[in-house]
Amino acid sequence: MLEIKDLKASTGDTPILNGLSLTVKAGEVHAIMGPNGSGKSTLAQVIAGHEDYVVTEGSVEYKGRDLLELAPEERAREGIFLGFQYPVEIPGVNNAYLLKAALNAKRKHHGVDEVDAFEFLKLAREKMALLGMDPKFLNRGVNEGFSGGEKKRNEILQLAMLEPELAILDETDSGLDIDALKAVAQGVNALRSPDRAIVLVTHYQRLLDYVEPDVVHVLSGGKILRSGDKSLALELEEKGYDWVREAANA
């Protein structure tokens, strides 16, 4: 589904990704772990199409197409979803409005009838109940005045509504209490299917107790240093990131 080869990307004059390669197949859950500043978030932003990051070398293929030539909105409609580490507050834009616009933009792109207001409400309420969200969040400004946990749940609500083929969740677990973490994990697990792939970008292995990854990668200095199964995450938790760096340098 996603094939990244020798990717180099920078912001301004600062190189951040330094020849990163990664293959994610449909049905898989990958975890990308790494210390702060290793390039985890940059990788997520580059896949979503953020214009602040310039790809200088390498390629990214998504479902066999060159992803880098697509605008952010085209990537979204083609089934890529980025769960933001810091979801943006947008006062004056109603949460329901955004959800419905996003859903219909995707449906329209795929030649499916747009949902009307009633269908939308029914669907949104269903998903919110699943995530333990109060329906009143629908009528608030997007993330406006939400707590950290509410913002992350709201990202998962969007995820649940949009049912992407490739979900990249950028530190969706950070700053969550245990209830919120479980709700997020439940939302992610509900999405697992043979047709979809999920990439969890995370600093800690805590989330991986609830969402079991097929592959774990360690990112450092803009490259993947090591990949393994879920036991790698536990080993990292025990030995720290320096262990991987030392092992790579040895």
Partner: protein, 427 residues
């Protein structure tokens, strides 16, 4: 630079032509004052960004044509459209003449009369008020009787414009809310017609002890028309006014809002939204004078500017000696969609008392890139995302407008204006 004067004789003749009513003597006095001072010029601090040369030019051409009462065949349709869109009781002032709605005077505590019927001579203390008083055929006086509450808003529709010859029209409304009364007003400025047009209007609102008014002004003039408008509001003890102004049209627009807090525990909430596109100039001057305290005032204006245009916001709060316990806040936020848009924003505080709380804040910015990317990452195309964010910027002013029955109409007007701005090739 010379003063912006109008030819004496032609102006005197125009005044002479007006209906001979109780205002005649007052007109002559006002005329003399105007001839002395002329229009305000950009040499005055309060007018340095707004040049009334175009207004003087239209007035001059109107006088040269013999100062006809402007007329447009389409005014009736415009009035009907507004009546259909906003279902409230309207009094219509059409090209300066009080045309319709005078039968609203009832025994439910609302009295409506003309200045001439009441022999009420409008004051003039400002050059544009001089001109207004000199050329005013008649004015409208509304009184809300003490203790009466009115839940249905009263509409004041000031509509003017001419089809062929340049036109000039005056309007003046005086509203008195007696002790403990409560009412809502919608003031709608509309214009129509191909000819150049200048409208000059004054609204005076006074609130007695404990009175309360919700007031919304909507300015939806045609894109090639000009307007100067002055509103004065005087508040006595424990009175409250919530005022919102929407400037969604016009080529050259200057609004002065002068609020006089003359009573303790008065409460003033002012909000405004101006949207300007190619070729427009919209100037809002707000002055809130805290003569006594404690009292509270807050104002927030927001502007959305696209294309080559200029907007001015000047918010002044004065706290007089002894007006302790004053709480005055002012804010002005602007969204610039084009590099060719210009905003001149100036908050001013003049404080002569000690125990006061005053604050002001002004921002000028472009579309928030982080929000834009967030929306695009959810599948909204760039144009759509920009429009959504632009609309969101003005949404708080629309949704907080004090008269709920207007919200749908205002939302529609704002959206219409914004799609002209974001689709009209402005960048």
């Amino acid at each position: 630079m010379t003063a912006l004067a109008l030819p004496d004789k032609a102006l005197a003749t125009a005044v002479q032509k007006l209906p001979d009513n109780a205002l005649a003597a007052n007109r002559q006095a006002a005329l003399a004052r105007f001839l002395e001072r002329g229009f305000p010029t950009t040499r005055l601090e309060d007018w340095k960004y707004t040049d009334l040369a175009a207004v003087a030019d239209i007035s001059q051409r109107w006088l040269e044509n013999g100062a006809p009462v402007p007329s447009s065949a389409s005014i009736g349709d415009r009035v009907a459209a507004i009546r259909a869109a906003i279902d409230i009781d309207w009094i219509v002032i059409s090209n300066g003449a009080i045309a319709d709605g005078m039968d609203l005077a009832g025994d439910d505590g609302l009295s409506v009369a003309t200045f001439s019927e009441l022999a009420h001579a409008p004051g003039f203390e400002h050059p544009l008020a001089d001109l207004n008083a000199a050329l005013l055929p008649d004015g409208l006086h509304i009184r809300v009787r003490a203790g009466t509450h009115h839940d249905r808003p009263l509409g004041l529709l000031i509509v003017d414009g001419a089809d062929s010859q340049p036109g000039v029209a005056q309007a003046r409304v005086c509203i008195e809310l007696e002790e403990g009364s409560k009412a809502q007003f919608v003031e709608y400025h509309a214009s129509i017609g191909e000819a150049d047009h200048y409208a000059n209007s004054i609204v005076e609102l006074s609130l007695a002890r404990g009175a309360s008014a919700d007031y919304v002004r909507i300015q939806g003039r045609d894109g090639h028309h000009t307007q100067t408008h002055r509103t004065t509001i005087t508040l006595q003890d424990a009175s409250t006014v919530r005022y919102s102004g929407f400037d969604l049209g016009g080529q050259l627009v200057r609004n002065d809002l002068d609020i006089d807090i003359a009573g303790k525990e008065a409460n003033v909430v002012v909000a405004g939204l101006y949207i300007a596109g190619e070729g427009q100039h919209i100037d809002n001057h707000v002055r809130i004078d805290h003569r006594v305290g404690p009292a509270r005032s807050e104002q927030e204006y927001r502007g959305i500017l696209g294309g080559r245009c200029r907007c001015v916001w000047n918010g002044k709060a004065i706290v007089r000696p002894g007006a302790d316990g004053t709480d005055a806040e002012q804010a002005n936020h602007n969204l610039l969609l084009s590099e060719r848009s210009e905003i001149d924003a100036k908050p001013e505080l003049e404080i002569y008392a000690d125990e006061v709380k005053c604050s002001h804040g002004t921002t000028v910015g472009q579309i928030d890139e982080a929000a834009l990317f967030y929306l695009r990452s959810r599948g909204l195309d760039k144009q759509d995302a920009m429009r959504t964010l632009t609309r969101a910027f003005g949404a708080s002013i629309v949704s907080h407008s004090p008269i709920a029955v207007l919200t749908d109409h205002l939302t529609e007007m704002v959206e219409g204006r914004l799609s002209e701005l974001t689709d009209g090739g402005d960048e």
